[in-house]
Symmetry: C2
């Protein structure tokens, strides 16, 4: 089949992406990676000069996709000729695209966790570069869009709003991810679903329910705290 990669570098990246996402950096050994990618143990060092670098490249590769998806989704909303973009449509794009991007890709359930590691890494340089190239552009684009659709908002108010929305997104992503690795007949699973029924739904429905809730909750807050100024 044409899908099978033979480039060992690609094979390693693919294997690393799913293994790191499942088990975390420290819990995956180079031997395990090599076995999963069907390459030699020495290949990781040969192609990436160390385990840490492989990890870094996995993160970058995934995040470039995520970033571009988020930016495209926003452009689509802003460029829509059918209906004038408003606050709700921008918020919904942010919420929906992040949920889908972080949950829908099969292996990527815990990339929020991996990202946390990357951001905390002491390498300094890589951390700054990552922040500037992956996180900031999305943040800036959505901030600007919000200002555009509701000019009465001030920059700092937008920062607070974005933080509240992103916080909610992360939390619901984490919830799903936590549930995902639980045995369906275990006590933990039952309790979680009982406390939070939406977790009993399939992924697609969960995403929709969560997107609806975060959008509604945040829009209600925004409209109430910072209402549109009608001139």
């Amino acid at each position: 089949m044409s899908e099978e990669k033979h480039d060992p570098k690609e094979k390693l990246l693919d294997a690393a992406e799913s293994l790191f996402a499942c088990k975390g950096f420290d819990e995956v050994s180079i031997r395990e990676l090599a076995a999963a990618a069907d390459v030699n143990v020495a290949a990781v060092n040969y192609h990436f000069q160390g385990k840490e670098n492989l990890f870094h490249e996995v993160i970058i590769r995934r995040f470039v996709v995520q970033r571009d998806r988020s930016l495209e989704a926003l452009e689509k909303v802003l460029g829509s000729t059918k209906e004038k973009p408003n606050v709700a449509s921008v918020v919904r794009a942010l919420v929906e695209e992040n949920l889908k991007g972080t949950l829908s890709v099969p292996t990527s359930g815990s990339f929020m966790t991996l990202l946390a590691r990357e951001m905390h890494s002491q390498h300094g340089h890589s951390s700054t570069a990552f922040f500037r190239e992956m996180v900031m552009p999305v943040f800036q684009a959505y901030s600007t869009a919000l200002l555009q659709v509701r000019p009465s908002l001030q920059q700092e108010q937008i920062s607070w709003i974005m933080a509240s929305i992103i916080g909610q997104i992360h939390h619901f992503v984490t919830r799903w991810h936590k549930k995902k690795f639980l045995p369906e007949d275990g006590d933990d699973f039952k309790i979680m679903v009982q406390v939070f029924p939406a977790l009993g739904q399939p992924l697609e429905e969960y995403i929709q329910l969560v997107a609806d809730h975060i959008t509604a909750f945040s829009m209600a807050a925004i409209d109430s705290l910072y209402p549109e100024v009608v001139e």
Copy 2:
């Protein structure tokens, strides 16, 4: 001085609490722990039968305090004779107590991260027990309180509201923690403060600003989506 502990078990727990919080489970070695606690390397296994158990006990010890503080804060609000408790006061108690509890204790900035590890642990039993005894009681108490102060709310609506609030709390805690370990003259630091000015404040002010924001944001959403039914 009377503060100095001589019980090696206590000394180990104290040293472990701050080291684990700073560096995470894998990045702290038993030798490091022993040195910090000024005990023998073998002491960890002697007192706790393994590194994993020590970690578990550290988490428990911290979380019992946190849980009890949260429950006390709620009781204080509900039992107040001066003013009738309302939704806002319950929400504020939840937000403020969690922020203080997670940020004010000197070593505990990253206990959210450690907690994540504990919840994901495959031990099954410990995970369930922890959830049932540490997380659920607080969740239940605040849910019941919300129902009490606004009886028109349904159980599932409360679950969604709580999730949105807790998500915001975690996010702002994480932000502070991320900033805390950054050099104050580094690029990362400058960018973060520029993007999110509240991070430039001292901890006490940050907590107040964040508590105000989350409470206001969430109350606006709640009152707008699920208004009080006046009979």
